[in-house]
């Protein structure tokens, strides 16, 4: 039954903030070709986008994996960044540790993780300070 899963792997390059957010465009294109419903595409693209931005801003990049099953789409974002010391605080809307110079572009509103949770059916965060963070999100089809 392994043929029932379609996997894609993306590298999210850190270091340069202006490169952030590209993988979600590729994902959107891909899901469109697969004929996935537009509202699902939107939710996957947003969840992926927010995660990608987080990895670029806070963790110097990481990897994004997309797994498409007959009944669900799973996004796994993994980085070896600083980790999240207080998940409850990080999940609060409006809480942000983003640097000032990107706020004029509309970032740093503290909506990243809350949006990822809102647009997905399940979200799991594994994090260890100084080691890294892995976020796994599931969207049911």
């Amino acid at each position: 039954m392994t043929a029932d899963v379609l996997k894609y792997h993306f590298t999210v390059v850190g270091g340069d903030f202006t490169s952030a957010g590209k993988a979600s465009v590729n994902v959107k294109k891909l899901l469109r070709q697969l004929g996935i419903a537009p509202d699902i595409i939107r939710r996957v693209a947003i969840a992926m986008y927010e995660g990608e931005i987080n990895m670029v801003i806070h963790a110097n990049g990481g990897t994004a994996d997309l797994e498409i099953y007959p009944d669900s789409i799973v996004i796994i974002l993994a980085d070896s960044g600083p980790g999240i010391p207080d998940i409850d605080q990080a999940m609060q809307e409006g809480f942000s540790t983003a640097p000032d110079n990107i706020r004029s572009l509309g970032f740093g509103a503290g909506m990243g993780l809350p949006n990822m949770k809102r647009y997905t059916d399940e979200m799991k965060i594994d994090t260890e300070v100084g080691v890294g963070t892995t976020v796994t999100m599931t969207i049911r089809l």
Binding site: T18, S19, A20, S24, I53, L105
Partner: protein, 435 residues
């Protein structure tokens, strides 16, 4: 230059009533009312579009090209301004607009926003150089550059000498088309800018900083809008993918170009009257510590251009929504090893922008001084009501016109009335004396 300069504002003589609305609002005092209708002094007009916006009779019309004019070209590339994206209601994906442009008759699309992202990166690099005169003033709005060249010559060295995004977009679009379709020759391809403002129409005809513009025609957003909306209903899944990000799209509104510099030492002003005040202040060196000045002649930025459909603030709100989950930037400059202040030669202006002393009263300094004195003298006798009835925007402008030999003392209706009253009084006295 005044002889060959081709403007983009024309007048419908039947509609013009000769009222003073445009006269009073023209920021460079380029309009006079002569023979019952408005006349534009070509050498003074900066194509800001203010007169188009304020004319209550819609007598001022932007002179744009039409898509039909380019039927002979094998490959027509649409170059949409990011302001276009803010015109469409209930849109959450730019790809629908881009696919719509292909459906309505273009062969390909190249977004100005893509080139804007490159210009943003070049600007960031340029600002890192040691030898630049700061604050650097944006050169993307052609009306602003024209304004500086006629009224603020001391600031010309501050102007960013890099091509505006639309010019770069047209060049890149043609290069890309020839690379992808080797059967096409340069003459087969036309780059058609979909513009929010008449200043860009003039720019394409009288380019700034480059010998010849790569833009072959300029269509107005308001013309394209009525074809685009039905064309966007012709398909279910869009097949053209946008290749611009938050940075490129943000250029449509005031503050967008600055926010892309990722540094907070900037100022962004919009609206022609506001930018004149800001330029006055910069000339006085009142802005210590600023790196960059973004100026847009239209209020709100390019979304406020006179050829848009939608209210600028609504358009800006839509863009805010559209850009929300877009990549920061999708267009990057190839890294030049070890140099973070390197800007390729080909994106710089190839010709300079020079001061055009159109406001000076005379080429001879002594003569200019004499004329200035006369102007003050005449101005002192005028009522200073600035009513505009004489056809000049203010009493001082009339005084200037008189000194230049373009108007006469008797053009002032208030003075005329006084003179008639004086005559009556004198006649009355004569009759009285005769008794």
């Amino acid at each position: 230059m005044s002889e060959q300069y081709r403007h983009s504002v024309s007048l419908d003589l039947d509609k013009c009533k000769g009222c003073t609305n445009c006269l009073k609002r023209c920021p460079t005092e380029a309009i006079r009312i002569r023979g019952g209708h408005a006349v534009i002094k070509s050498e003074r007009c900066i194509d800001c579009g203010e007169c188009i916006r304020v004319c209550p009779y819609r007598a001022k019309i932007p002179k744009c090209d039409k898509l039909e004019d380019f039927a002979d070209y094998k490959w027509k590339i649409a170059i949409p301004a990011p302001a276009l994206y803010g015109q469409i209601d209930k849109l959450d994906d730019l790809d629908y607009i881009l696919t719509g442009l292909v459906e309505l008759g273009f062969d390909d699309v190249f977004e100005v926003a893509r080139a804007a992202e490159l210009v943003s990166e070049y600007t960031r690099r340029y600002l890192r150089r040691e030898d630049v005169v700061k604050p650097v003033i944006s050169s993307a709005c052609p009306a602003v550059v024209r304004l500086i060249s006629v009224r603020f010559p001391y600031l010309l060295d501050n102007v960013l000498p890099i091509m505006p995004p639309v010019e770069l977009a047209a060049r890149l679009a043609k290069q890309e088309a020839m690379r992808r379709h080797p059967e096409l020759k340069e003459k087969d391809i036309c780059a058609l800018f979909i513009s929010p403002c008449p200043a860009k129409v003039s720019y394409a005809r009288n380019p700034i900083g480059v010998e010849k513009s790569a833009i072959d025609g300029v269509l107005s957003i308001s013309d394209i809008y009525f074809r685009l909306v039905p064309a966007m209903k012709k398909f279910e899944t869009p097949y053209v993918t946008s290749r611009s990000g938050i940075i490129g799209i943000s250029w449509a509104g005031s503050g967008g170009e600055s926010s892309a510099l990722l540094n907070d030492k900037y100022l962004a002003a919009d609206g022609i009257e506001n930018i004149i005040k800001v330029l006055d202040e910069i000339e006085k060196e009142n802005f210590a510590g600023l790196e960059f000045i973004e100026l847009n002649a239209c209020s709100g930025g390019c979304v406020g251009g006179a050829m848009n459909m939608e209210n600028p603030f609504i358009a800006k709100a839509r863009l805010q929504n559209l850009r929300r989950f877009l990549p920061v930037s999708q267009n990057r400059v190839q890294d030049i090893a070890g140099h973070d202040d390197e800007v390729p030669e080909e994106v710089f202006w190839s010709t300079g922008v020079t001061y055009e002393p159109i406001l000076q009263l005379d080429e001879n300094r002594a003569e200019a001084l004499r004329k200035m004195q006369r102007m003050q003298e005449i101005g002192g006798h005028l009522p200073n009501l600035d009513c505009g009835s004489c056809g000049a925007p203010s009493c001082m402008a009339l005084a200037e016109d008189i000194v230049r030999g373009e108007a006469d003392d008797s053009d002032c209706v208030i003075r005329m009335r006084q003179q008639i009253e004086d005559i009556w009084r004198t006649m009355g006295r004569m009759v009285h004396d005769g008794e």
